[in-house]
Subunit: 258 residues, 2 copies
C-alpha cells in the first residue's frame, strides 16, 4: 500500500515541541511534509494575510535520517495551509494534521484557535483534517502520553474518511499516564470571563493585558469538557457551515419586508 | 420608552465610511457608543490579542451635536468587544452591531471575517449581535441604499430578540437603488481558489501576495449568494456551536478504543 501524504502544521510555530511530537508520530504512518508558521500565532483565529507579503523558506530542523521536508512561513496557520496546497505540495495531501497545540482548544476555544483554523482551512479545500491540542499550556508539556491516541485517530480517519464539510477537533487531557480512552463529543457551552489588567506605561499611557477565566456553562456528559475532566481524549466533529438552520424559520416570522 | 444602548464596532477601523454610515443609522434608533479598531483589521478572523498590550483612547471624529461617545482600540474586532463590555461600558448594551463592512462576508467569507468575529464575540457574551457588510470593497462605496434595511433589521432584532447562541450575518448587495427586499438564508457552500502571486524582493528574497477567486459550489435558491445575486439583502442566522451534531454517530462507529 502506498504511504499516505500527510501535511503537518500548527499555530505555535515550527520549532514548537508539540509540532515536533506530531511529526514524530506521523512519520510512523506516512510521508510527512511540514509547512508551519515561523513564529507563534496563538489566538489568531481564522486570520489570513491580505494586505501584506508572505515569506516562505525551506528549513532543516529535524536532523534524523527520515527527516520530513519542512517549510516555514511568515503568515498565519490558515496562510500556511493555503500556501502548502497551492505552491509547495505538488499533489493533494491525503490528510492535514495541525498541532499538537500547547493548550486546550476544547469548547468555545475552537473559535479563537489558530490550530483549528489550519484544519478548517484544509477542510474547506476538501482535504480530511484534524486539529490536535494538549490541555497543557507549558512549552515543556509532556506529549508522550498523547501519541498513541493521535496515531489511532489519524489511522481511523485515513481508513474511514472524514465526512465532507467536517473536520475533527481533538483535545487530549493533561495526564501522567495514558488517557482513559477516546470519546466522540459535542462542543460544550462556555465562555471566558474576561478581566483586563490595566497598567500605565513608563510614558504615562494606559494599556491593558487581556486575561480571563474559563466559565463552563454546560453540565452535559456528552461534551468535550466532560470527557477531558474525566481523563478521556475528546473528538468533536466540527463544521464550517455556521448557519443556525433551526433558527431560519423563526427569523422568517419577523416583519422584515413590511 | 427608554432608548436602547447600541455598541457599534467594525473591522475596517474607526474612520471607515461604512462605520460612519452605521453610526448615523443607529443614532436614529438609540444611544450609540463606539469602540472600534484604530487601524484596518480585515481578514483577522476571530483573532484576539494574547501576548501583547492593548491601547484604547477616547476619540472625537463625529463633530455633530448628537455625536456618540467613541473609543479607538489597538486590538482586533474581538478585542474591541471584550474591552467595551468589561472596561468601557458601565452597563450591558441592548445590541451590538458591527460594520458596515466594505466588502462581502457572505458564504464562506464568514470564517475569515473580522466584522463577524466582533458580532460573534458579543453573541458569546449573551448580547444580541448583528454583522453588516456591503458587497463593495471600495473605500468610496455608497452606503445610502443600505441604511433602510439596516434600521429595519436592527429594529426587528430589538423587538423580537435574537435566539441565544445565534448572531445575524447580514450582507447587502451593491445596488444603485434600494435592494429588492430582505431574505433569511443559509450560508452558501463556496471556497476561494487561491492564486499566489510570487515575486522577488529588491534583496533577492522570494515572497508572495495572496490573491484568489471566489468559487460558488451551491446552486440552492435559499442561500445568501442567491439572494445577493438577485438584489436582496441576505440575513443568515449564524451559530458558534461548531459541532457537526449529525456526524457524531458516524465517527462513533470508528474503532477508536480497540
Amino acid at each position: 500500500m502506498k504511504k499516505p501524504l500527510i501535511l503537518v502544521t500548527n499555530d505555535d510555530g515550527i520549532t514548537a515541541p508539540g509540532l515536533r511530537a506530531l511529526i514524530s508520530a506521523m512519520k510512523e504512518i506516512g510521508e510527512v511534509i511540514v509547512v508551519a508558521p515561523d513564529s507563534p500565532q496563538s489566538g489568531m483565529g481564522h486570520a489570513i494575510t491580505i494586505d501584506d507579503t508572505l515569506y516562505s523558506k525551506r528549513v532543516i530542523i529535524d536532523k534524523t535520517e527520515d527527516a520530513p521536508t519542512e517549510f516555514s512561513c511568515s503568515g498565519t496557520p490558515a496562510d500556511c495551509v493555503k500556501l502548502a496546497l497551492q505552491e509547495i505540495l505538488h499533489k493533494r495531501p491525503d490528510i492535514c494534521v495541525s498541532g499538537i497545540n500547547h493548550g486546550s482548544n476544547s469548547s468555545i476555544n475552537v473559535i479563537y484557535s489558530g490550530t483549528m483554523s489550519a484544519a478548517i482551512e484544509a477542510g474547506i479545500e476538501g482535504i480530511p483534517a484534524i486539529g490536535f491540542s494538549l490541555c497543557d499550556y507549558s512549552w515543556e508539556a509532556e506529549f508522550s502520553h498523547s501519541l498513541k491516541s493521535v496515531k489511532k485517530i489519524v489511522s481511523q480517519a485515513l481508513l474511514h474518511g472524514i465526512p465532507n464539510g467536517t473536520v475533527l477537533n481533538v483535545n487530549i487531557p493533561k495526564t501522567t499516564t495514558e488517557p482513559e480512552g477516546i470519546k466522540v463529543c459535542r462542543q460544550a457551552r462556555a465562555n471566558w470571563k474576561e478581566k483586563f489588567d490595566k497598567r500605565t506605561s513608563p510614558t504615562g499611557k494606559d494599556y491593558y493585558w487581556l486575561t480571563g477565566e474559563f466559565e463552563l456553562l454546560d453540565k452535559g456528559e456528552d461534551t468535550d469538557e466532560w470527557a477531558l475532566a474525566n481523563g478521556f481524549v475528546s473528538v468533536v466533529p466540527t463544521q464550517f457551515d455556521l448557519t443556525a438552520h433551526h433558527i431560519i424559520q423563526q427569523v422568517n416570522n419577523w416583519s422584515l419586508n413590511e
